[in-house]
């Protein structure tokens, strides 16, 4: 009986009650996806938060103590103490505050070395504290495991000897497995193992009644549950069956834990080389060199910074990152008059005595430049200034300094599309690596005259910025991060309101793995 049929109706009628059974693997995948993910969310992250918290607190303490020191100690004091501490006391020339003209590089060098020792010791502090902290957490894990184990042992004594051996085996292997894990996931995974054991054991007893002892501690209840479950197995089934069940349970727990580990590590890390033009300047009027230059116009230099950053994604919103950057900074103080031989200008009417103004305490002069003196052009009455000085001696002081910068920052994801937006905040620890002062005359000559003695070997900056990233593929991102870094204790004896900062636009290519 063949008849004309609307094709929609044909399919509708035929497929109306159609059902099909998927393979068992589908459910296993679903189950694994759901429960591994949930465990990860619930247990692993809080531990990272704790460690992150410890790190952040340490950084804060370091920063505060750093600021405090730079406010209370004068430069000469700090040098003196460092020299004393390191027993390298063969050189005391600079410890007096370096006012003498005959300071030269040879004198300075040994002083800086011991100071670097001091710096290194300081920088070791956070790591040793971190180690301590993680040791503490470790031992607390260990103790929780031990206390959890105690009720099992005490309970099992009351039970048959058959259960005793199997339980011991189970616990021994569970312990062994948890020892293999790394510190961060130790607690969570051993919890998982225990939960899995409980779960599977409960299922195996097929509803045999689990008696709770009514203890107040939740862990104890859990543990006694599992012990009771084991006891009832012992009563219901023979030894072999029970051993198999436990072995299966342990094997399964191991598998899941393996899966979870793999899942966790997937694409959490990324590494990103970066390069940035950086612009340095000061927020207020002031000078890092001498108070006579407070009101001079300062112009910031644009230099380069380059380095590498590694980051770890705590969750899909938050990343911690740390890096190593080389950064060069510099600025010029304009409208400065310099002259070589003090005698030639003695005839000039200077507003203040020469010794105060022309020798600058914050500079350690090279021996070749020992006779160079500076005054701010604004302190001279221009009418009195000989033409020859105006033409030949007007110059700018060009201060250059470089740091090895170690930024530690948090990155919060605002938009997570192909084009992502992040907010970035954190601190940098900076180690002085380069320190020079030049005179740049209007005729274009650039002469090295010495180095600043008021830049701290270790200083800090507070960093803020916005990150933009564009996904090239699953693994690669292009980053663009305009950052503002406010330097906290870079200079010691600044005058006026000298607040150094630098701005950098960091571009990089990050690789996830």
């Amino acid at each position: 009986m063949s008849d004309k049929k609307n094709i929609d109706r044909l399919f509708q009628e035929k497929l109306k009650d159609f059902e099909a059974t998927p393979s068992d693997a589908v459910w296993e995948n679903i189950h694994n996806t759901l429960h591994n993910k949930k465990n990860k969310k619930r247990r692993v992250i809080p531990i990272w938060w704790q460690l992150g918290g410890v790190a952040a607190t340490l950084l804060l303490i370091l920063t505060i103590s750093g600021v405090f020191n730079s406010n209370t100690d004068s430069k000469s004091d700090s040098i003196k103490t460092v020299v004393d501490n390191t027993e390298n006391t063969n050189n005391t020339v600079v410890s007096n505050g370096s006012e003498k003209n005959n300071d030269n590089n040879n004198d300075i060098a040994p002083v800086y070395n011991p100071e670097e020792f001091g710096v290194e010791n300081k920088s070791n502090d956070p790591t040793s504290n971190l180690n301590k902290a993680s040791d503490e957490t470790k031992s607390s894990y260990a103790s929780t495991i031990n206390t959890k184990n105690t009720p099992i042992y005490s309970k099992e004594n009351k039970n048959t000897s058959i259960t005793k051996t199997t339980v011991k085996e189970a616990i021994a292997s569970a312990k062994e497995d948890s020892n293999k894990l790394n510190d961060q996931t130790q607690q969570s995974n051993s919890n998982i193992i225990k939960n899995k054991l409980n779960e599977l054991l409960k299922t195996d007893t097929k509803g045999s009644k689990v008696v709770s002892t009514g203890s107040e501690n939740n862990d104890n209840i859990q543990k006694t549950d599992s012990v009771n479950a084991i006891t009832s197995i012992a009563l219901n089934e023979d030894k072999n069956l029970k051993e198999n069940a436990l072995e299966n349970a342990i094997a399964k727990a191991n598998d899941e834990q393996q899966n979870e580990k793999e899942e966790e590590l997937k694409n959490r890390w990324s590494v990103s080389p970066n390069v940035a033009p950086v612009y340095f300047n000061t927020l207020g009027n002031g000078s890092s060199i001498h108070n006579q230059f407070n009101d001079n116009i300062k112009s910031g230099d644009v230099n380069m910074s380059y380095g590498i950053t590694g980051s770890y994604a705590i969750n899909d919103k938050l990343k911690v990152r740390a890096g190593l950057n080389k950064v060069d900074l510099g600025y010029s103080t304009n409208d400065v008059i310099f002259y070589n031989n003090p005698e030639t200008v003695l005839g000039l009417s200077l507003n203040t005595p020469q010794s105060d103004n022309t020798r600058i305490q914050n500079i350690n002069y090279r021996s070749e430049s020992a006779n160079v003196s500076f005054i701010s052009a604004s302190s001279l009455s221009l009418n009195n200034t000989p033409e020859i000085i105006k033409e030949n001696s007007l110059a700018s002081l060009d201060q250059q300094f470089g740091f090895i910068e170690i930024p530690v920052e948090l990155e919060y994801t605002v938009l997570d599309k192909r084009l992502g937006i992040n907010l970035i905040g954190g601190f940098s620890t900076m180690f002085l690596s380069n320190n020079e002062i030049y005179v740049l005359s209007n005729s274009g000559d650039r002469t090295l005259i010495g180095e600043a003695n008021n830049i701290n070997d270790m200083s800090y900056s507070a960093n803020f910025g916005i990150g933009l990233n564009y996904g090239l593929s699953d693994k690669f991102n292009i980053n663009l991060e305009p950052m503002f870094k406010y330097q906290i204790n870079t200079f010691n004896n600044t005058t006026g309101n000298f607040q150094p900062y630098f701005i950098g636009v960091y571009t990089g290519l990050s690789f996830k793995f």
């Binding site: 009986m1 044909l10 399919f11 497929l15 059902e19 189950h31 759901l34």
Partner: protein, 180 residues
């Protein structure tokens, strides 16, 4: 255990309740996935993704409408997600659209055959045909779901019907030639 109780337990991420829900609905949803996918493997993938979404989002199910309806919508969305960006933009003159009928005996064709020819349709045709002819969505709704115009939805449906009709008629021809 009642369905409500199972749902409540699922919201607590209880593995046993999840397993029960899966057992209750897997077959129905799998047939739906088979119709919307181009082969068995893809259908299983879709089913897996569907249930993961269901259990992750079960807190959003407030008991309005049947659980099965809610789950089916998730299954359909999961299938659509896979093809949302696939672009086939055939424009068919809407005048061509008419009821496509096929001269066939109900018992001649098996469910497996019908399923096979649905799966063989180009992705978009298959989705539109399923949504409109089998699951009762309107062209307007389909247009929104697939991010196409409703004109495209109509033309896709017409193409799908023609392809299906051709295949059934070919099948009939081979059947009758076997009987000769």
């Amino acid at each position: 255990m009642s369905l409500e109780q199972l749902i409540t337990n699922c919201k607590k991420n209880d593995a046993r309740a999840q397993s029960q829900i899966y057992k209750l609905f897997a077959n129905k949803l799998f047939s739906l996935c088979l119709k919307y996918s181009k082969n068995y493997v893809e259908a299983e993938d879709n089913l897996q993704d569907t249930f993961v979404t269901i259990f992750n989002k079960i807190n959003q199910y407030k008991g309005k409408g049947s659980l099965e309806g809610w789950m089916k919508r998730i299954a359909v969305n999961t299938a659509l997600q896979r093809y949302r960006t696939a672009g086939v933009f055939d424009i068919v003159n809407e005048d061509q659209i008419e009821d496509v009928t096929v001269d066939i005996d109900d018992d001649d064709v098996s469910i497996d055959f019908l399923l096979k020819i649905i799966q063989e349709l180009p992705d978009r045709y298959r989705l539109v045909f399923n949504l409109y002819a089998l699951d009762g969505y309107s062209h307007k709704e389909i247009a929104e779901m697939l991010e196409i115009s409703s004109g495209t939805s109509k033309s896709n449906l017409a193409r799908a019907r023609l392809i299906l009709k051709d295949k059934i008629e070919q099948f009939k021809a081979t059947l009758s030639s076997q009987y000769l």
